[in-house]
Point group: C2
Chain length 192, copies 2
């Protein structure tokens, strides 16, 4: 059954060890931030630093694993029809819009959509780590300069994951203008 994440919202759910998760960009050019926690001990969680270290690459795609802060494999990427994701940048937060977009007004954010959906699992805002940003197109130059470019994902592109432990998964349909080529669209997912 395909589940829908409305634009600028999020969800959290349990994914059991061995289950597959398909995250789909139904309209194209839409990012989904994902964080993972060990369902049996939420102090263990996804780690960008451990993943980049063990996978020895900035660009995480098919064949790579996402690792935890305890140096264990949490999930494997079995398929990736688009092939561009980001694991450098933190989820957009209220401060992202205040500081980087110079927008002092309320703005929905992945950070809020992650921590509000994770609250029932007793996960607090301070516990939200750097997310694996599915379909996010962050380009880097040889001098290190980073830019957030429009996603290259086309309608129907997906990333297929397989859980290596029982997980709490939180997913968003990202709320930041720059990450999604200026418009906000839904994300679909399916547990297989």
């Amino acid at each position: 059954m395909v589940c829908k994440i409305e634009k600028q919202t999020g969800v959290a759910f349990i994914l059991k060890k061995g289950q597959n998760l398909k995250v789909i960009d139904p309209q194209g050019e839409q990012v989904s931030d994902m964080v993972l926690f060990n369902a049996n001990d939420v102090r263990e969680k996804i780690s960008s630093g451990k993943t980049l270290d063990f996978e020895e690459n900035l660009l995480i795609t098919k064949g790579n694993f996402l690792w935890s802060n305890r140096s264990r494999k949490m999930i494997e990427i079995l398929e990736d029809t688009n092939g561009r994701n980001d694991f450098l940048l933190a989820p957009c937060s209220p401060e992202t819009f205040q500081i980087m977009y110079k927008n002092p007004k309320y703005h929905p954010s992945c950070f809020e959509n992650l921590y509000t959906n994770l609250a029932p699992y007793r996960i607090e805002p301070d516990d939200v780590p750097t997310a694996f940003n599915i379909f996010m197109n962050v380009q880097f130059q040889p001098n290190g300069k980073l830019s957030v470019d429009p996603p290259t994902s086309k309608p129907g592109d997906f990333v297929l994951f397989q859980a290596k432990m029982d997980l709490i998964v939180a997913l968003t349909a990202c709320s930041a203008e720059d990450s999604n080529n200026g418009s906000f669209k839904p994300i679909h997912y399916e547990i297989l």
Copy 2:
């Protein structure tokens, strides 16, 4: 007063808002992993994801700030005589040596040296974030491939930081062969 961190060890101390911290590589080619916590609330801590996002660069040096998970500036880099640091890779841990070095025996690690020195501040191993790796030379290719190369730091090179809030600072003299061109040396620091 110059304080010495012996090879393959670490320290933790308080740095008050406005104080400067000079981290020195006395012999050259030696990395120092640094983590930061808000001294008044250790749930606020250094964030690679927030720093790379706000500074819009993979290479953090003079003029950049290190930001917290709450999107606040923790420390500023006032000087950097070497100019190459890393903020991608997690501190070397026992699993680094088991998995990447294929070494099943006990090996000192930055992770152990961070959490043992942070224990008196009630900071636990799971709370240790991705460190700012001073003098660490991680090269990235256009295809994302990462390599840990010998540091470019020469004897006496230093990075000078200024605290933007009261901080708990933990520092190591890194324990990983690949990060330090195959030998282990001390790190010096000075609070100014």
